[in-house]
């Protein structure tokens, strides 16, 4: 152990917004002996380590006719690696109560690891094997492919899946964002082991890696563990560029005929890029319109006043190359048209008039306080730190976030509302909604 870890040229003391100064979370930027950077939060009260990491390159890397490749590869990483077959690998995990999770989004591969302190070396060794030497044994590939096909078969008559898939297809035709990460019943059978090996080779590289660690661990030990898992990966990946895109089909309505008692509606339109100067204003305005709380306009108008649905909400979704606002509800067939009319009217009203000053103040207060509440476990903190890094928001973002929210004025909110909701919506409906038909394309 010679020189190590100039832990943290950058250390941020993040006082969680809305919380008393008694509790603070210190984020350290650390560099491992092999030169890999990570963010670390030391949390000594529970003897565990939560790792969260991401690689650039998600399902948008899939070939158009082989969508689901990255996802299937991710599902197979713990089904045998190095000299360990799948059975042995799973037994090692369970004997030590180690949790490894892998998932794929459009832009990124996401991974997490949770281990008790006493088993952390074993945990990072198993992660090293899973990322560096997955076996893709034939029997495991066919078993996991079969499981994926079973999920896809089930989804083929699920109104939520149908409405959502159709929305993405119509919003992003001929673009990888239009395809679900899971792939389709047609594409998944086409995926070969060579395709999955290509994905792994092109994606699992040190230059596309983002790491966050939270737990009962010091910087030096964290650096050594990071190297155990990641130092052996190639220095550079080989990713295909993804084109910029904007959602299409705004103003269009698509009805998917399905015999279910309740129609499921997906709606959405233009979003805001994460680095757009209006992003925070848009985030607040969207919270007022249809954010998840019991106080949103859509919740009040659709559920509370009229009882048309159990849930209705919308959210901002951003990728590296596109951004959308996306929402949904589910209502009985004979009132679907009413519910949709209300959603459209409220959206239009928000675009034209923006929120009231009182709504803006209440939303700002909520969003400042809610952030601290959302960071309530080591795993959640680690995931949030990874997201902050991927979004390139800076190690002091948590500290600055409250002031960024406070800086949004009513004019900003109105401008953002018009940008978000003034462009019309693409709507998909799965079910038998009375009086609603697909509009002409």
């Amino acid at each position: 152990m010679t020189r190590f870890l100039a832990a943290a040229a950058l250390t941020a003391l993040a006082l969680l917004a809305g919380a008393p100064a008694a509790s603070a979370m210190t984020i350290e930027k650390i560099v491992s002996p092999s030169g890999i950077t990570a963010w670390l939060v030391r949390e000594h009260s529970v003897p565990l380590v939560a790792l969260n990491y991401a690689f650039h390159g998600g399902s948008a890397q899939d070939e158009a006719d082989k969508s689901g490749t990255a996802n299937l590869a991710a599902d197979l990483l713990d089904e045998g690696a190095g000299t360990l077959d799948g059975k042995t690998f799973h037994e090692r995990l369970e004997d030590h109560a180690i949790e490894l999770r892998f998932s794929v989004a459009r832009d990124y591969f996401h991974g997490s690891l949770r281990t008790l302190n006493e088993h952390r070396e074993e945990a990072f060794d198993l992660l090293h094997l899973a990322l560096g030497a997955p076996r893709f044994d034939d029997d495991a590939v066919e078993r996991v492919r079969g499981q994926m096909l079973a999920i896809l078969r089930r989804e083929s008559t699920n109104p939520n899946s149908l409405a959502s898939r159709r929305w993405w297809e119509a919003a992003f035709p001929d673009h990888p964002y239009g395809r679900e990460s899971q792939g389709t019943l047609e594409s998944v059978p086409r995926i070969t082991v060579a395709d999955m090996r290509d994905y792994v080779r092109h994606t699992f590289a040190r230059n596309g890696l983002t790491i966050s660690i939270v737990g009962d661990i010091d910087a030096k030990t964290a650096g050594a563990l990071i190297d155990r898992a990641f130092a052996g990966l190639p220095a550079k990946g080989d990713l295909k560029p993804v084109a910029n895109a904007s959602p299409r089909g705004l103003g269009r309505r698509i009805v998917i005929n399905l015999d279910v008692p309740q129609a499921v509606v997906t709606f959405g339109g233009l979003g805001l890029a994460r680095h757009d100067p209006d992003f925070m204003a848009g985030y607040i305005v969207n919270h007022i319109l249809g954010g998840g709380s019991f106080t949103s306009r859509l919740y009040r108008e659709v559920r509370e006043k009229r009882g048309l649905a159990y849930g209705v909400s919308d959210t901002l979704v951003w990728f590296r190359r596109a951004a959308v606002v996306l929402g949904g509800t589910a209502t009985r067939a004979d009132r679907t048209a009413d519910a949709l009319a209300i959603v459209e009217a409220e959206t239009k009203r928000m675009a034209e008039n923006g929120p009231t000053p009182d709504e803006l103040a209440a939303a700002k207060s909520f969003l400042k306080g809610a952030y601290a509440l959302s960071l309530d476990s080591s795993a959640k903190i680690a995931a949030q730190l990874t997201q902050i890094q991927l979004d390139n928001l800076g190690i002091d973002y948590i500290q600055r976030r409250g002031a960024m929210i406070d800086a949004v004025g009513i004019a900003d909110a109105k401008r953002a509302a018009k940008r978000l909701f003034g462009g019309g919506m693409l709507v998909t409906v799965a079910g038998r909604p009375k009086g609603l038909t697909s509009s002409a394309e």
Binding site: S45, R114, D259, D376
Partner: protein, 461 residues
């Protein structure tokens, strides 16, 4: 849609069982690491449990009422859950919407959930707002005001919730049918969300009557997990809940009990939307509350060995070795005031029939009955369940939920604390004995979910 208002009806049992195991273990581990769980009872009968966790300046505050769907009058199914929704409609002191606005102002989260045995409401707020939310909950414990103007639209909401959870979901429909066939006499056979024809008739008077009968300090347990000292939480509780008068006439929970099960039952639900068939079998077994010492813990271990993840017997046999299934699992949820359920699940690969897969699952069960479990399997399952202890401490909401679920279903704080010790004591003979005793098909209902391919079902254009 993940951020929708979320009201849990009966939680997915496989998940619930895992969570239950995790948090029971967590509690005991918390004790060994010196985190004391405090348990008080106020003079008016309200119980207060405090689970300190000072990592963040946040508290989770929950109030649990010892009343659920199993306590509904026959003909009024769905009423406990309906009342849960209506509890958000305001009081004289805090009119409709005020509670949620107050919680939202400081960024708090709130929600509620209903099961067969309990109804619970919770908020997650900055620690300094604990007394505020206690005040609001104490107010709506007896101050609820309802008019048809708010009751009738909310009845539409629960009907849409029923559609979303059950009507649109063939697996959930099968689960309802299995419960209804498994419980011959006990109200656990009714869906928590209710039967639609009864939900449609629920009225304001039904809701108020139920509320006055069951919502009282001596029928409630408050759980606070987070950044607060027990003495302070007690002081706040006394100043808020302590002011609510005891209910003179809270009856003990005595539901009609099950006769000894004597018939092997099976049913088939055909739904045109089923593209992936499955089979599920539920056995009637003891809960943590009704079991003799050690029985419930042996069932916990048995469920894990048989069906907890990809090292389990069912998964190895059906999915990996014989390749007849795409998934296979088993679960046991010990948290019920009366009898509990032990479940077995499998979904066949294309070309494999349900009777075939059922026979394969039966062979796995029969093998455990005949030969028991290996020392290695026993240790792996136990150590995994006990290790979840430490993980559980990482999430205060889950800790609060585990304690709440346990005390609502007849267990005590001390039972929760000692759960890992009891798991440690489970022997291979105990597990085999549990399998022999409880995995008796006469105690079970087997349900098949298949595609309805009949012409009248094919209404799709």
């Amino acid at each position: 849609m993940s951020s929708q208002k979320f009201r849990l009806v009966r939680p997915l049992m496989s998940v619930a069982a895992v969570i239950a195991a995790a948090f029971a273990a967590g509690a005991a581990s918390a004790e060994t690491t010196g985190v004391p769980v405090a348990d008080f009872t106020l003079p008016n009968g309200l119980e207060l449990i405090v689970i300190p966790d000072h990592r963040a300046p946040v508290v989770t505050h929950m109030i649990w009422y010892k009343v659920g769907a199993a306590d509904e009058t026959p003909g009024k199914s769905g009423l406990a859950h309906f009342l849960e929704h209506l509890m958000f409609k305001g009081t004289a002191k805090n009119p409709a919407g005020q509670f949620s606005q107050v919680v939202a102002r400081f960024g708090g989260q709130e929600n509620a959930f209903t099961s067969s045995d309990y109804t619970a409401f919770y908020q997650r707020v900055p620690s300094e707002q604990l007394k505020t939310v206690m005040d609001l909950e104490a107010d709506r414990m007896t101050g609820l005001q309802l008019t048809d103007q708010v009751v009738l639209p909310e009845r539409e909401v629960i009907l849409e919730e029923q559609n979303q959870r059950v009507g649109n979901n063939p697996r959930a429909r099968l689960g309802e049918q299995i419960d209804a066939a498994l419980f011959l006499n006990h109200p656990y056979g009714k869906p928590v969300i209710g039967w639609r024809h009864e939900m449609e008739q629920l009225s304001r008077d039904d809701a108020i009557g139920f509320y006055r009968r069951f919502y009282a300090p001596n029928d409630a347990v408050v759980i606070v997990a987070g950044d607060v000292e027990p003495s302070e939480a007690l002081k706040f509780a006394e100043a808020t809940y302590g002011k609510v008068a005891r209910h003179a006439n809270i009856q003990p929970r005595e539901r009609p009990q099950e006769p000894p099960p004597v018939a092997v039952r099976s049913l088939t639900l055909a739904d045109p939307r089923v593209e992936q068939p499955m089979m599920q079998r539920d056995y009637l077994v003891p809960s943590a509350h009704t079991a003799k010492p050690g029985q419930s813990e042996a069932l916990d271990v048995l469920a894990h060995v048989l069906g907890g993840g990809s090292n389990s017997r069912l998964y190895r046999a059906l999915v990996v070795d014989k390749r007849v299934a795409v998934s296979a699992a088993a679960w046991y949820d010990s948290s019920a005031f009366d009898m509990a359920k032990f479940g077995v699940f499998a979904a066949p690969r294309p070309g494999v029939t349900l009777p075939q897969i059922e026979a394969d699952a039966d062979a796995v069960l029969a093998d455990v009955v005949a030969k028991g479990v290996s020392a290695e399997e026993l240790e792996r399952s136990k150590s995994r369940m006990i290790a979840d202890a430490v993980y559980a401490q990482d999430n205060q909401v889950s800790m609060a939920r585990w304690y709440g679920t346990a005390v609502m279903t007849g267990s005590t704080v001390d039972d929760v604390r000692r759960w890992p010790d009891r798991i440690r004591k489970v022997t291979a003979a105990d597990v085999q004995d549990a399998a022999r005793r409880w995995l008796d098909k006469r105690r079970s209902v087997t349900g098949y979910l298949i595609k309805d391919a009949s012409p009248q079902a094919e209404k799709k254009s």
